[in-house]
Symmetry: D2
Subunit: 367 residues, 4 copies
């Protein structure tokens, strides 16, 4: 098992290498009867497509998705949904010079040690193109979540040291700047910062935040498959992510119980919380409040400036990574984090359906 599947009931399996013929995903377990078109998926893929701003790689691919199975008369059939995107702009020659060297910050070295050899073309399976399958699956999961009144939102909270404080959020600005930040003002400063780094052939990282509204209470399985635990796996499994937190996260570690506990109260006959330090989960289950998670993304590993490293022959060498690389991957990671969140929630919605005998009696009432 090379670990290319995620989810138990809403289960996605991605495949494909950066410079192979195609990349794709198979989604097994999507409920039948949900309207789905290639356009629904393309919208998501376009959000992660390169070449859209001066801060992203200029590798120019249309990344057009094809639905190969699982949809009939415009609706999901309950059978596996196979989605494929052909790789167009392969230009293998760009990568030839690094075929025998281990790039710092990349998977080259452990990949070679693990499998005995490796597809050195553009990172192979460890390329950012692997996320195409995730995003395509996220689009399908989002269609499903929408049917149940659940909506997600993701954006860039920080680029390098430039952070948007929650009090400054203006969600309407997210799609107005190159970084998908909820503040055009801070995005502008971030842009200047990134431009400087580009001139210095350097790169930076940042923080992505994702929220979900409309979750039923009680989503998530109590012990190992907690909502937050599966989100942590889902998000940490995205290349370049080095940290995940829910709600107050690491800040909670420095807080005290009387402040960190969210008091419950009744409003309009519903149980509500006065604050949301928990980020929407209690005991690993959704608590009725907004789900909030953050992912820390490291600086892009591919930088043009010379770096010390070794080659496969065991020699100390210097390497300069040429080619097309994002100085900051964060804006393109936004839709990836959102997609993994959507997939995780979709899976737990299906699992939770079987939690109670009265749920099952509703379903099998008129068998």
């Amino acid at each position: 098992m090379s670990g290319s599947s995620f989810g138990k009931l809403f289960r996605i399996t991605t495949w494909g290498e950066s410079h192979g013929p195609a990349v794709g995903v198979v989604i097994d377990g999507c409920p039948a009867g949900i309207s789905l078109s290639e356009e629904d998926i393309q919208v998501f893929l376009d959000r992660r497509r390169p070449g859209q701003s001066r801060y992203t790689t200029r590798r120019n691919e249309s990344d057009t998705v094809e639905i190969l199975s699982g949809v009939f008369d415009g609706k999901t059939t309950g059978t596996p949904i196979s989605l494929m995107v052909r790789n167009q702009d392969q230009r293998s020659k760009d990568y030839g010079n690094i075929s025998v060297s281990y790039r710092p910050g990349h998977a080259d070295y452990p990949f070679k040690e693990k499998y005995g050899f490796r597809d050195y073309r553009g990172g192979g399976r460890s390329s950012g193109r692997e996320t195409i399958g995730r995003v395509a699956a996220g689009a399908v999961a989002s269609r499903f979540l929408n049917e149940l009144g659940i909506s997600l939102r993701a954006y860039t909270k920080a680029v390098g040291p430039f952070t948007v404080d929650e009090s400054e959020y203006d969600y309407s600005q997210i799609n107005e700047n190159s970084f998908y930040m909820p503040s055009n003002a801070i995005a502008e400063k971030a842009g200047e910062y990134v431009s400087t780094l580009m001139a210095e052939t350097d790169s930076c990282g940042g923080i992505v935040e994702c929220t979900a509204d409309g979750l039923p209470t009680g989503l998530g399985e109590p012990v190992f498959d907690k909502l937050d635990a599966l989100l942590a796996q889902a998000v940490m499994s995205v290349g370049a992510v080095k940290g995940v937190e829910i709600g107050d996260g690491f800040r909670a570690a420095g807080s005290v119980g009387s402040q960190n506990n969210d008091p419950f109260y009744m409003r309009d006959g519903r149980v509500c919380k006065k604050t949301n330090h928990s980020g929407g989960t209690l005991g690993g289950m959704s608590d009725g409040s907004r789900l909030i998670l953050r992912a820390a993304i490291k600086p892009t590993s591919s930088i043009a400036r010379p770096q010390q490293t070794v080659n496969e022959s065991g020699e100390d060498i210097e390497i300069s990574i040429r080619g097309r690389h994002d100085p900051v991957i964060v804006p393109r990671a936004v839709v990836v984090i959102e997609s993994m969140t959507a997939v995780t929630i979709a899976d737990l919605l299906l699992q939770n359906a079987a939690a109670r005998i009265d749920n099952l009696k509703k379903i099998y009432a008129d068998k």
Copy 2:
């Protein structure tokens, strides 16, 4: 599936409620031929046992483990290892008054919403006693890891605002203070802080750090089952954990590529790294350096001071949680985090064994 299993090949399934007859774990897939005794497991359980310092609950249970299967002639047989700890000190009456109220910070409300009713005695399945199965499994995993020359170390990095900087670490002091901190001096200050909180009927959180040495390079499966991704699930699935990071973690988000990349170099014929910002993983696989992870733990939710909340009848009420509660759960969480790390590594060691045809030819050479 109520999510009580973790791992694909080295698979653990925990069971049991705080005030039921017993708690336990079944470990399926532990390789045959590893020496294992109840004493090996008891040593781990004693590290999480309450009543050991003035900063932990005085619930006094011996938590004696019984091996029910899977061991013969002092060695694992390859069949499931069933481990059980009887609950002794149940005193249900302590918890009676909260049977119809939702404690802030606890799982009570989502549990009730999910299942329709709940075992209100001591948190039921969401109690900290659920971790006994994890720790017992961690002890078994650690025996296995030791056979392959892998060793783990976990300790408290921070209690509330009192943090031990890496430059101050003295590992020899970890077992010399009540908090398992690698600095007696800072542990002393933390102790004064916690004493003050206890007087104020309040609580605090902290940060646990865990490292692993001796991992083979290439451990972890490239996409969803990355070493760091599964560790994130494993650690985030521990109650009260709100954040997980690997290596520089959230600090990496503010760094630049030329600093965050760890240069490779050769030493004594082996590939080494000059720095370890990555925390021992590249592309989700172990990179030959020390594995480093941190978990952010929220303040104990159970506090004696009055809190606002609601009851099951939908009334706003005030609640005071009496009984025995840790003012800070961090020191007892240390062995839990270490155990989950051990179990995750054990599972990936088994998965990785099948990665290459030449590995399999070694095993099946003399069939």
Copy 3:
């Protein structure tokens, strides 16, 4: 993974060896809110208990089950249900003489080759006592199925060459004879046959048939997790089972399409079938008719008469297996086959709940 778990959502994990301290099962994923008592389970266990007729081993154990978790106020809580039966009558000395020999028909030889050593006491993990966990889980599954109006029936169709033809079935006689046959007359002949074999220190096999009524149509997942495919695994995984068939089974291989196809027709507004050659499945899904499966059970391998074999030192030897052994295991296998059928159906009922978006809308309507 030593393969001790079965099911995806209603997931059972059995553990225990014949002569270890105990045997048991953990059931993870049983829906909350089902009434369940130890008595419900004991009734099933008593059906497989030895020492009940002259045709079964006289190993005398009460096999009393203990519920260790997952039940509160007499109902399942949705958390794992841990069930344990202590081994009482261990008498290890009976088995000492076979500790270094490979018994023909038993798992001794492959077990040793697989794991490097083996628990030779009473077959260890490969003992018939391993089925206690299956039967306990089957009792729980049956409670669940009953809530949805599904009922199972299992019985002995054949003992050696003595077969009850379907036209002769009298279900009311099943519990009136030692073999659980739906014909006292044929059971009597079977009894004489088995008595003769006992005198000759020989053994025989037979066929168990199991049916299920009240299944909703469409149960089973279309490709690999077909209802009949999972039943085949479930039933073939019972020790001594060498064949499984659904409906006409092997007879269908010799039939023609115009006879084997079951015509549909309408009755009282429901789709019905005029015949049931399919045994209740079409395309791997339940088709609204009675589910019918059969398991072929080989003769008991343990026989007292001398047999040729080899020992662990690689010497040709003769062995006589003394001790308490059933001359025919079939009657005790009846409840095991029924239990595995119940567990399989329970799992697929949970999986099927998530098949359609309108099912999920019913459940999440009032979130």
Copy 4:
């Protein structure tokens, strides 16, 4: 989860409908370093391709496979292998008349009940074309098995009532007749029989047998994931299979222990068996002898003669299924059964690699 995945470590996920754009499979977990070409896979696909004899459907598709990922420099890389076959000859109009009727013997009715609607074109997901993914995966698994010295053979044992007795087997004749029978003489009689049925617009079934040589002893996991149990699932999951047996199978049910037990003896320093009634498994693990399994295949459900059935409006109707249908599916099922056997063995070979600590020490010796 619509059940489209099989295997735990060597895990295959098939997708695709009869009249969608394509069908395919993703194989996750194939070890790295195995040489693999499209030609290796095409050879297998050609064995199941229609239009090869007068007894198979004349739907004429080349079924050309494309490797989309997981292979580099002619060798498997350890990452998922994605294989696709485009559907060419779709001619949907042939199937239009059955879009609102339930064909007897087909999945139409339960499919509609399960999902609320269905892809009625050529059976959709329940079409025989679903097996293309299985066979492509089987080709890959076989390449892997060959590397370890394991070889499989499958053939038709019976067509309707015409059975080849084991004493008459001539393996060299398997590829010399249209039915893949190990006897040209009996194949000739079967051919006459099938011709008669075709004239009568009827169909028949038969029995496929598959063997495996060269298995290491101890393959298979002791309880639920026994070698024979997983083979039973794998084979029963093939459409039209109604029964599975191992070794003597149902015949064993009528035998006695003294005959059915296979005596062990030593030959050239190896443990051997004098007979092989067990069909190569003991306690669910391979026992060093030839693995033997049989699958009972029902008569083709699609027959041109008028049949009674109902339509989706709940009316009794008569249906005649026109179009291209095999009068007997058995010869084309041979490679499908062999493929599922190969995939099952491949998976258990990987699982078994982690069974013993000394296996793992061999692999991690020079980490």
